[in-house]
């Protein structure tokens, strides 16, 4: 095995580990907002490491490399917008308004 193969294995293993940790975090947390943090992490860290592994194996200027980078970017930016919308929905359901309550303003 060459150094490139070791790097690919390391990147793939890191990406898979990140996704599995996020799954376990989703299972362990109790509130929707806490769970949402793990979804954001799963959509950024894991796909980025997997895309890096594909680029190391195939090269950045290749069909596979470009597609993997595109997917990682779509997941990262798409997940950010979805997480914002979901957090607003959770806040509306739990508190009835997006604005801070007087108690929250007092706490700062």
């Amino acid at each position: 095995m060459s150094a490139r193969d070791y790097a690919v294995d390391l990147l793939v293993g890191g990406g898979i580990a990140a996704e599995v940790v996020c799954c376990l975090g989703l299972l362990a947390m109790r509130s929707a907002i806490d769970r949402l943090h793990y979804v954001g992490a799963a959509a950024t860290l894991g796909p980025a490491l997997i895309a890096a592994a594909v680029c190391v194996r195939e090269g950045l200027v290749s069909s596979q490399g470009m597609n993997a980078v595109l997917i990682a970017l779509l997941l990262a930016f798409g997940s950010a917008s979805v997480a914002g919308a979901t957090a607003r929905l959770i806040r509306l359901r739990e508190r009835g308004a997006l604005e801070s309550t007087p108690a929250e303003r007092e706490r700062g």
Binding site: G15, V39, A68, G78, S81, L89
Partner: protein, 84 residues
């Protein structure tokens, strides 16, 4: 069986905890878990495409990554109007 296919298998197994949350948690927690399921499926498809070394297979996760955003926003839009 290479490292890509092993990784895809692990990710498919990781869908089980998300399924537990979807089935047992309140509706908003289920929505959050559904978003994670789509992300995991997209990454698993990338791993399968690279594991089988077929560049044409990458079209499926590209489309799924785009539909992930659209589908989740539609769920958010409709859940905002309903008291479930």
């Amino acid at each position: 069986m290479n490292v890509w296919l092993i990784g895809a298998t692990i990710l498919l197994a990781a869908l089980l905890p998300c399924g537990v949350v979807i089935l047992r948690a309140p509706i908003l927690d289920s929505l959050v878990a559904l978003e994670l399921v789509t992300t995991l499926a997209t990454v698993a498809l990338v791993l399968l495409a690279e594991g089988y070394h077929r560049s044409s297979y990458f079209a499926v996760p590209v489309v799924l990554a785009f539909l992930n955003v659209v589908g989740a926003l539609i769920f958010v839009r409709f859940l905002a109007d309903r008291r479930l």
